[in-house]
């Protein structure tokens, strides 16, 4: 995934602000990238654009070489379901579905149904250590477990990019570390890039690369703890 010269205006008239002021960013396969910055720095706006949910005012985003410019909402949705997995701060699991069904949902929207989809969902839950909780509903799971279900949902379709928005913000330190460890493991796949938006410095040891954003501009980029260790 590549973003070049991304600018984004939000609001209208006198209230309009430029949330992003020309951001260049390329997510590389096999890397966990942290996007860090203070509140209001443009992290979420950038994540929404990279996630093909918002279109930039200026600049281009390419997903596997395919530009999102001029695409309609349905085409963007197709791009998302085929290429991007999402992990949200507040999990966004379906309370009326079991863990397995929550994961299966990501396949169902792609038209993958039946036994194969069920097997893939179980495998994804197994990968995040929840093989014994496939039938549990979100209310029967801890925060950390819910986030692991969300990660399983993000990876089950084997996307080339995973975008995670403050995935540990609602968790205690132990669970946060556990979630980051899972994401770091997922990022080892050379065919997949993982971008984690956070303002939590405790996540730095898990990152291969850290990008700092302030006032809508990337101000610094450095190697993370994982990169230094390797």
């Amino acid at each position: 995934m590549e973003a070049a010269g991304i600018a984004k205006d939000l609001g209208h008239g006198a209230g309009q602000i430029r949330a992003l002021k020309g951001v260049d960013l390329a997510l590389k396969g096999g890397q966990l990238t942290l996007l860090m910055g203070p509140s209001g720095s443009g992290k979420t706006t950038l994540l929404s654009i990279l996630g093909c949910m918002l279109t930039p005012t200026e600049g281009t985003v390419r997903v596997r070489g395919d530009s999102i410019a001029g695409k309609n909402p349905e085409d963007l949705a197709k791009l998302r379901r085929e290429n991007i997995g999402f992990v949200f701060q507040s999990y966004h699991l379906f309370p009326t579905l079991s863990a397995a069904d929550n994961v299966r949902l990501a396949l169902d929207v792609r038209g993958e149904t039946g036994r194969d989809a069920a097997d893939k969902s179980r495998a994804a839950l197994d990968r995040v250590g929840l093989s014994n909780k496939t039938r549990n509903y979100p209310r029967q799971l801890s925060g950390g477990e819910q986030q692991r279900v969300a990660i399983a949902r993000a990876v089950v379709g084997d996307p080339s990019v995973i975008l995670a928005d403050e995935p540990t913000a609602a968790l205690d330190t132990e669970n946060g570390k556990s979630i980051m460890a899972i994401l770091a493991t997922i990022a080892k796949d050379p065919g997949r890039g993982v971008l984690v938006v956070t303002h939590d410095p405790r996540l730095v040891p898990f990152a291969d690369r850290i990008i700092y954003i302030e006032d809508g501009l990337i101000v610094r980029e450095e190697s993370g703890g994982a990169q230094r260790r390797s």
């Binding site: 979420t44 949705a77 197709k78 998302r80 169902d108």
Partner: protein, 377 residues
């Protein structure tokens, strides 16, 4: 089970109170439509019951006759002319009219006299439970329905009364021949009917024409129309339709029933739409999540439509059971509610259409959904 269905089912049952309200709305609406349409069918059947039970290939009637109960008269010379038409083997006179029935206790009530040539069997009483049709040929003999015993002030077979100051005797009793006007039918021989209704001996209300084997009914009709003056010649189906049109639409009764049914549909649609809309609003976060993870709009519409269809099936099933109960309760009433397989199918389709139409507001809501909202909630 498809996940779309599971999701729709769970969304629906998640808030049970709201689901119950939806089902009550659908049931109320469909029962109302069932009753109105059942009354329409029941009324439609009752107004043609005499035509349905008459044995005729063609009906000769005075020009402008609007319905079976229309008391206009024909001259009996028309009958002789009718019988001269090749293919017309019989032309049975029928006389109808309102008269006053005086019971042995002295109380009086209006009745509707139906007289036919009983030897020819044109329009005889049916569903006899006591007595025989042949006994109506005996002096003063009449047939009445047991439903009206109280109204007529009699207790059954052999009871004596008076019509137009002339003595009558109940010689046969029927079951279920009820009039939608609530005026009891009294069957008798045609000559006696003339005497009881004041119709002159050379007059009749209808001639029921029977066509000989192999004769072309349409040709006979054309010949009858060419030969007779100031008459109309209708097939039973045409006369049935004319009577229905008059009573249901000429009087406004049908329009009133349809208006009630329409009201039911509107109320049901509004209730279901409101519920689906608020359910969608409650699950907006989930729909936004679906959109964020790449679901097409079609997928989300499927969930909402599935919710609407589930509501329709559950609501209709309950409404149908209540409808059957209402049919049972009104079966022996003055105006029974009739539910036919066709009406059942139509009501089911109506419920489905009503619920799917109700989903439009919810669909419009999710159409405008912004998937990026998942990052801010």
């Amino acid at each position: 089970m498809p996940l779309v269905f599971t999701l729709a089912f769970r969304n629906l049952f998640h808030d049970r109170l709201r689901f119950i309200a939806t089902v009550i709305g659908i049931v109320f609406s469909i029962v109302l439509v069932t009753v109105q349409m059942g009354l329409y069918l029941g009324f439609g059947q009752m107004v043609t019951t005499m035509i349905d039970h008459a044995s005729a290939d063609l009906w000769i009637m005075p020009k402008g006759t609007k319905c079976f109960e229309d008391p206009s008269l024909l001259d009996t010379r028309q009958r002789s002319r009718a019988l001269s038409i090749p293919g017309a083997t019989e032309a049975i006179p029928v006389v109808i009219g309102f008269a006053d029935w005086r019971s042995p206790s002295g109380s009086s009530t209006p009745v509707f006299v139906v007289g036919s040539d009983l030897r020819a069997g044109g329009l005889e009483p049916w569903n006899l439970i006591e007595g025989r049709v042949e006994s109506l040929s005996t002096p003063n003999a009449v047939a009445v329905d047991r439903t009206y015993f109280d109204r007529l002030g009699i207790s059954g077979l052999g009871a004596q009364a008076e019509i137009r100051q002339q003595s009558v005797r109940v010689a046969a009793v029927t079951d279920g021949i009820r009039s939608f006007t609530t005026t009891p039918y009294v069957f008798m021989d045609v000559d006696r009917a003339r005497a009881h209704t004041g119709v002159p001996p050379n007059k009749a209300t209808y001639f029921l024409v029977r066509v000989g084997k192999g004769a072309d009914v349409e040709q006979v009709r054309r010949n009858l129309l060419a030969s007779l003056t100031d008459v109309e010649v209708l097939t039973p189906a045409e006369f049935r339709e004319r009577s229905r049109q008059f009573w249901l639409f000429g009087t406004g009764a049908g329009a009133a029933l349809f208006a009630g049914a329409l009201l039911g549909v509107i109320v049901g649609t509004v209730i279901v739409a409101q519920t689906l809309y608020s359910s969608t609003k409650d699950h907006l976060n989930e729909f936004a999540t679906l959109r964020a993870i790449g679901s097409s709009r079609k997928y989300i519409y499927k969930v909402i439509i599935c919710q609407a269809l589930l509501s329709a099936v559950i609501g209709f099933s309950l409404a149908y059971l209540i409808g059957l109960l209402v049919v049972r309760m009104t079966a022996s009433g003055a105006l029974p509610i009739v539910i036919t397989p066709g009406l059942t199918m139509a009501l089911f389709l109506l419920t489905v259409v009503m619920c799917v139409v109700s989903a439009i507001a919810a669909i419009m809501k999710v159409t405008r959904i912004d998937p990026a909202m998942v990052f801010t909630r």
